[in-house]
């Protein structure tokens, strides 16, 4: 690990100010919460910040507040705290389950929700110091000609990473909002708009600009008649990233879908919503046939690579299973 200087900050404002200052001085800095992700990147020398801004010393960034229409979750809340929160279990069981399926028990005790949605890709070329890949400022996405069994089938090009977050698909499916603090003050945006495709910027996964920090996730309470689901398929039964994951949130009335979202994980450089399948479902009763058809519609336009064709069939059946479990 390259040496760095640790700075304990006392407020979000101080952290934002420091980030902006280091940016202007062309020094590299990173913010650290739970550290599980950043320290791995630093040990692999993928991240080499000169300054580490420790957010853990800011009081009051870890909380789950249940308000009338939404949960407000502080960015430093751990995945274990979300998994075990009674209110979240009661209203958003699928979100609690997604938190419980991320990483390992030890990492869930340290890892935060803010860090989870800001994770960098786990592409083996990106994580290896031996490859200066496109995403690290090089010229080649090695997944194109290399071993691409875990890479993108949607939204790829010029880089083909997949977004690794377990929390992002269910949060996008339920319509979560994100609070971001930055030099211009605070803003709240839909989480869906947080992630960027490589065709927009192939060196980063989200829109955070210099000096910006995620401070809160706002999760609306689902409307009456809503049911959500999260399922993750991985190669090992435990402690692994999703090969494909799916989250569905459906509101039904009189047996028919009023509105719903279907979001895939592990298939694209961002959490991947499938609007055509969502439209198809509107007004329909979810049964074996409609669920299967929705899966087929969702995977139209998929562009698998040479080693990941299996993801298409996998995603189709996962969507089918998720829809049947969401009514």
């Amino acid at each position: 690990m390259k040496s760095f200087e640790n700075i304990d900050v006392k407020s979000v404002k101080e952290a934002v100010g420091l980030l902006q200052r280091f940016h202007n001085e062309k020094k590299s800095a990173a913010v650290v919460g739970g550290g599980s992700e950043l320290l791995q990147l630093m040990k692999d020398r993928v991240a080499t910040p000169d300054y580490l801004i420790n957010l853990k010393t800011i009081p009051g960034l870890s909380y789950i507040k249940e308000e009338r229409s939404a949960f407000r979750i502080g960015a430093l809340t751990t995945l274990t705290e979300i998994e075990e929160h009674k209110g979240v279990q009661e209203k958003l069981l699928f979100l609690s389950q997604a938190a419980g399926e991320a990483a390992s028990p030890q990492i869930r005790n340290a890892g935060t929700i803010g860090g989870n949605i800001c994770q960098r890709p786990f592409c083996w070329y990106f994580r290896s110091a031996n490859f200066t890949c496109l995403r690290k400022g090089g010229e080649i996405c090695y997944a194109v000609a290399g071993d691409n069994r875990y890479h993108a089938i949607f939204g790829g090009g010029p880089s083909y990473i997949v977004h690794p977050s377990d929390m992002a698909p269910p949060l996008v499916a339920v319509g979560a909002q994100l609070k971001i603090a930055g030099p211009a003050g605070e803003k709240v945006i839909p989480l869906e708009k947080f992630f960027v495709l490589p065709q927009v910027n192939h060196t980063r996964e989200n829109i955070l600009g210099p000096g910006e920090i995620v401070t809160e996730i706002q999760v609306p309470h689902p409307k009456a008649g809503t049911k959500g689901f999260y399922h993750k398929v991985r190669e090992r039964l435990a402690w692994d990233h999703a090969i494909v994951s799916v989250s569905t949130v459906l509101q039904t009335q009189g047996g028919a879908v009023r509105e719903g979202r279907v979001v895939l994980g592990g298939v694209a450089p961002t959490p991947w919503r499938v609007p055509k399948a969502e439209q198809f479902l509107r007004g329909k009763k979810v049964d074996e046939n409609t669920a299967q058809k929705a899966g087929e519609i969702a995977l139209e336009g998929a562009r698998p690579m040479k080693d990941n064709i299996y993801k298409v069939a996998l995603a189709k059946s996962l969507i089918q299973r998720a829809l049947l479990a969401s009514v």
């Binding site: 640790n6 390992s104 340290a110 039964l237």
Partner: protein, 160 residues
């Protein structure tokens, strides 16, 4: 730059000076001399370095010392009670729950975390609790047996 850290280590109040960027694992092994905690992968995959930070098991290879001020820390050295081995340690010995032994401290800490919350776990719950701990000798069957036997012993002791 060194930072003064006050913490409770294995039940004793301790004051240390350490650079804030020192990893908790290195602090324990190289500066305090508690070498029971092992480094396996260094990236949070193997769980060999598991310690309790404020009551929760975490990977000490991914924790910076800077965040330890005021913390309560328990390492494998703090598992046994007085001169007696902890029932989990006894069960691992009795059942052959260790082969090379390198993953054992982490396995014991996770088993402790599980049994503190759930004194009567199913095999599936044990497997789930140990899912962040790798044994490269693949001695999992006996490890799971040991956790089951330890659970039984702890439940019986509670009734005595």
């Amino acid at each position: 730059m060194k930072k003064k850290i006050q913490l409770t280590l294995n039940g004793k109040k301790t004051i240390l000076e350490a650079p804030a960027h020192r990893l908790l694992l290195d602090l324990l092994r190289d500066e305090i001399g508690l070498t029971g905690t092992k480094e396996g992968c260094g990236t949070g995959d193997c769980g060999a370095c598991t310690v309790f930070l404020n009551g929760k098991p975490v990977n000490s290879c991914l924790i910076l010392s800077g965040e330890l001020d005021g913390a309560e820390l328990v390492t494998i050295e703090g598992l046994k009670i007085g001169p007696e081995l902890h029932p989990i340690q006894k069960a691992f010995i009795q059942d052959g729950g260790a082969q090379c032994g390198y993953c054992t401290p982490g396995m014991l800490m996770m088993a402790k975390a599980l049994l503190d919350e759930n004194p009567n776990p199913t095999e599936e719950e044990i497997r789930f609790a140990l899912s962040g701990n790798l044994c490269r000798c693949t001695g999992y069957a006996k490890i799971i047996q040991a956790v089951q036997d330890a659970a039984k012993e702890i439940r019986q002791a509670a009734r005595r």
